[in-house]
């Protein structure tokens, strides 16, 4: 799909320069690799890979990073017998972006069985990507057998508790949360008291104009509780972020892209680089979904995120591996 189109602001109910209807319409295109950029109050959309006459700065704003998720290194069943190969394709895709992203976020399920060699393989493959900095949060597959001890040793430098952390990049505040430990029977993802206390304190003194990006493995909104696709105490976390004008929540876990805009919070889940999973309720269980081999790369993907200073909402663009 290749379209160059300008959407004017018609409905600006929140007085924040974002035409929700236009934004949501734009969001519906993202699955085909469309770039939506909010500049000067106007939402513009361009097909990714066809950015005629646009400077890199115009296209990518002031901060650009990429999210990958659910690499499940070690998985080798029919849904994808070679997850290393598709992760490598994801790295190629990242390297082909018009502007090199400043860093990568991996939203968990790095490994499939928490095996050291699985983590090693992912680390090796990620080295091929141009962005050299990678920030991680664990998935439930990364903390098996040892309550996350190995994960912390490998990826937990500078983090607190079970691996939560925050850092700043070009005025954007990033918060990595861990919601895959101490899971209770019959329950959903959980952040826990200590992490929530830390979060409240972490954002307390930030100006409300600071753009916030939260990343965690299990969705922080109720995608489909029946399949465990939600976090029990995320509502509490979101109350600490209420004052901010722009909050972007990036999650993984469900192996498909879904978006939801709620007031000033944009929730987004990423595709996996390993295998897809069914849409909520569309199958008996949320297991790996087999698709014809030639279609596999179309249902796997990466997410490119761009921030233009002065514009509150971040532009979140998904593109598939093929």
């Amino acid at each position: 799909m290749s379209r160059k189109k300008n959407d004017e602001i018609i409905h600006d109910h929140n007085n924040d320069g974002i035409d929700r209807r236009g934004f949501l319409k734009c969001m519906a295109w993202v699955g085909t690799g469309t770039l939506c950029v909010i500049q000067g109050g106007v939402l513009k959309s361009y097909a990714l890979g066809r950015l005629p006459g646009m400077t890199a700065k115009e296209a990518m704003g002031e901060l650009s990073f990429v999210q990958i998720s659910d690499s499940h290194m070690g998985f080798n069943k029919p849904a994808n017998p070679d997850v290393a190969a598709t992760l490598k394709i994801a790295m190629d895709k990242i390297n082909a972006l018009p502007t090199v992203p400043e860093f990568m976020l991996h939203t968990g399920d790095i490994s499939h069985l928490s095996k050291p060699e699985e983590f090693d393989t992912v680390d090796q493959i990620l080295k091929a990507a141009k962005p050299k900095d990678v920030f991680f949060v664990p998935g439930e597959h990364d903390v098996l057998n040892d309550d996350g001890k190995q994960y912390l040793e490998r990826y937990g430098k500078g983090s607190k508790g079970s691996g939560w952390c925050s850092f700043d990049k070009k005025g954007v505040h990033f918060i990595g949360l861990v919601n895959v430990l101490n899971l209770k029977a019959g329950g959903l993802g959980t952040l826990g008291h200590d992490q929530l206390e830390w979060l409240e304190d972490d954002v307390k003194h930030l100006k409300s104009s600071t753009p916030i990006v939260v990343f965690a493995h299990i969705p922080l909104w109720s995608v489909y509780p029946e399949w465990g696709w939600g976090t029990e105490d995320s509502a509490q976390a979101l109350t600490y972020l209420k004052k901010f004008g722009s909050v972007t929540v990036l999650n993984g876990h469900i192996h498909q892209t879904l978006q939801k805009v709620e007031g000033k919070v944009t929730f987004h889940t990423a595709a996996s680089t390993a295998f897809p999973q069914p849409q909520p309720g569309k199958a008996d269980s949320p297991g790996p979904m087999k698709v014809p081999a030639e279609q596999l790369k179309r249902v796997l993907g990466i997410t490119d995120v761009n921030y233009v200073q002065g514009q509150q909402a971040l532009a979140v663009v998904d593109s598939s591996l093929a």
């Binding site: 069943k77 029919p78 849904a79 499939h112 069985l113 928490s114 439930e140 597959h141 098996l144 057998n145 899971l183 209770k184 029977a185 019959g186 329950g187 959903l188 029946e226 399949w227 465990g228 008996d284 269980s285 949320p286 297991g287 790996p288």
Partner: protein
């Protein structure tokens, strides 16, 4: 008097029998000749089947993962009466229930998956 002695004697034999069964058994599969006290739970499609299993004291229950995703079998009580390592496809976990009671458990990776073993 005689009846109570014989009952006591029977109870003693039974006790020894149960002790004998539990001694030397950790969480390994019970010997094949004990088929009557071997029961299976299949893990598939993110569920335990059967979700509720009633067994006699001394039964060994074996969980087999037939799903294409790993799962665990972890009892939900505080002492964690049983806790399997991660089971990949076709891997098994066994536990012998020597005490009567109800043992709810779940998959610690996918906590929505729950089951229970009732030991009578």
């Amino acid at each position: 008097m005689r009846r109570s002695v014989s009952v006591a004697g029977l109870a003693a034999v039974l006790m020894l029998g149960i002790v004998g069964l539990s001694v030397g058994q950790k969480s390994s599969v019970a010997p094949a000749e004990n088929k009557a006290s071997l029961l299976e739970v299949k893990i598939d499609n993110f569920s335990f089947g059967p979700a509720s299993l009633t067994v006699a004291v001394g039964t060994t229950v074996t969980w087999t993962n037939r799903d294409d995703i790993p799962h665990t079998v972890v009892s939900t009580d505080e002492v964690k009466t049983f806790k399997s390592k991660v089971l990949d496809t076709d891997e098994k976990f066994s536990f012998t229930f020597n005490k009567a009671g109800t043992y709810p458990y779940f998959c610690s990776i996918h906590p929505k998956m729950t089951g229970k073993v009732i030991v009578q």
